[in-house]
Point group: D2
Chain length 144, copies 4
Amino acid sequence: MFRYVVRVRYGDTDQMGFAYYANYLHWFEIGRAEMMRSLGMSYRAIEESGIQLPVMEAHCRYLEPARYDDEVAIETGVAHLGRARVHFGYRIVRVSDGALLAHGGTEHCCLDRQGKPVRPPAHLVALVSQAPRASSPHSVSKKA
Amino acid sequence: MFRYVVRVRYGDTDQMGFAYYANYLHWFEIGRAEMMRSLGMSYRAIEESGIQLPVMEAHCRYLEPARYDDEVAIETGVAHLGRARVHFGYRIVRVSDGALLAHGGTEHCCLDRQGKPVRPPAHLVALVSQAPRASSPHSVSKKA
Amino acid sequence: MFRYVVRVRYGDTDQMGFAYYANYLHWFEIGRAEMMRSLGMSYRAIEESGIQLPVMEAHCRYLEPARYDDEVAIETGVAHLGRARVHFGYRIVRVSDGALLAHGGTEHCCLDRQGKPVRPPAHLVALVSQAPRASSPHSVSKKA
Amino acid sequence: MFRYVVRVRYGDTDQMGFAYYANYLHWFEIGRAEMMRSLGMSYRAIEESGIQLPVMEAHCRYLEPARYDDEVAIETGVAHLGRARVHFGYRIVRVSDGALLAHGGTEHCCLDRQGKPVRPPAHLVALVSQAPRASSPHSVSKKA
């Protein structure tokens, strides 16, 4: 899977001392954006080409908390590429010891400029087809 | 289900003009906090009694976008009360026309002050047992 | 000043146990939006009429922390209405005891649909002219 | 000044298509945390040593908008080191063309574990004394 490292910010924590659960969805966004960039087309360029990929479904399972200033690796892959939908899979891994903190997924549809559902254009299908596969959430993470 | 109305803030929107997907998890938090309060014990009081209910899993399905300044009703109920877990269900409904915008759920475990998993204490079980049931996500919402 | 009450959400807190400092700017946004609504025109309607009021400057002084589940009153008034700028003033007051937690201000310019600076249209000037004045930050707050 | 680059996330934007104004305070937090780390002691280590540096005041002037996926450099320096307070200064610079997007500052006091104001301990004074000075907000930014 594609790996991108971020740090837990102070503003991401809550009074339990952990990263608040909604922040993982921000990390998933960073993961898929950076994976697309690594494939050769940024999500900004995709939107500028007239295509939006809004989220239809999101889920996350939280295994261990992320704490302030922890480096966490966002691992992203494509779990499924359908005719009108794309599913991304994610793993959040603590960099210091490789512990799996969370895993999840998002499902996206494809809209044109008018907000009408469309089949993904060929250049997007070609791009996503080259993406790393989302591995099983519990497979062993290789440390950076 | 228990109903609590909030407004979409400017800071909740993204450049698509919609409420960003992570904000729904903030709304779910508001929904369960206000439902607990309505049952007679705030989540703050639960934490002060020595119990934390961290989120183990969260999911959300997005059907229609929420827009800036929309009033959205957060409908919250208990979907399942197990020996060590509690599941909440949520529906996000646009107040102006009753449209179902999203539905989802969260699963929580019960930790003591030392962060050790424990069975929910009797007072918490009694409280949650009185909560409204989470209805099927697609059942008809009664408008306010 | 115009008064609007919100609660500190769990996701607003940080690991110090206080509302994170950036959240006060979200509260200021809520304060000015609800004050405009109370005057008869929502900020959404202002934007739909072709005018945007982006923030040019923001500041906040933090006196005492806001904690999870605290009710805080956002008090909003107009501090200055110039030919091309409007300044709002804010006070954040803890509802339980009337303590002043923070005070601050924002300065806004006026843009048309093309993003060009313009003088505020007459209907906006008329609206803002009726707004409560921002009182000195340290004046006594009347409890709800 | 110390320079650290981040990207504008989708979730940072609002429906104007710009980074929402409260996010700049998150960037300031990242800037001072990374500057402290570069000096040899992370803010996490400072907190673990028993000292907290809560924000007493924050301000930001917004000159040009930051847009989705823009790389922005957070430039951080110490503007003033008093007996009980430290002031940081910040500049937010668009990496692509070096444009100054915003500048601002924060003022912090020093608290011990009991939340009592204390003078900064010698190791913290020594650390902050080595920090780059905050230059005038409008001085020319050197591109990375």
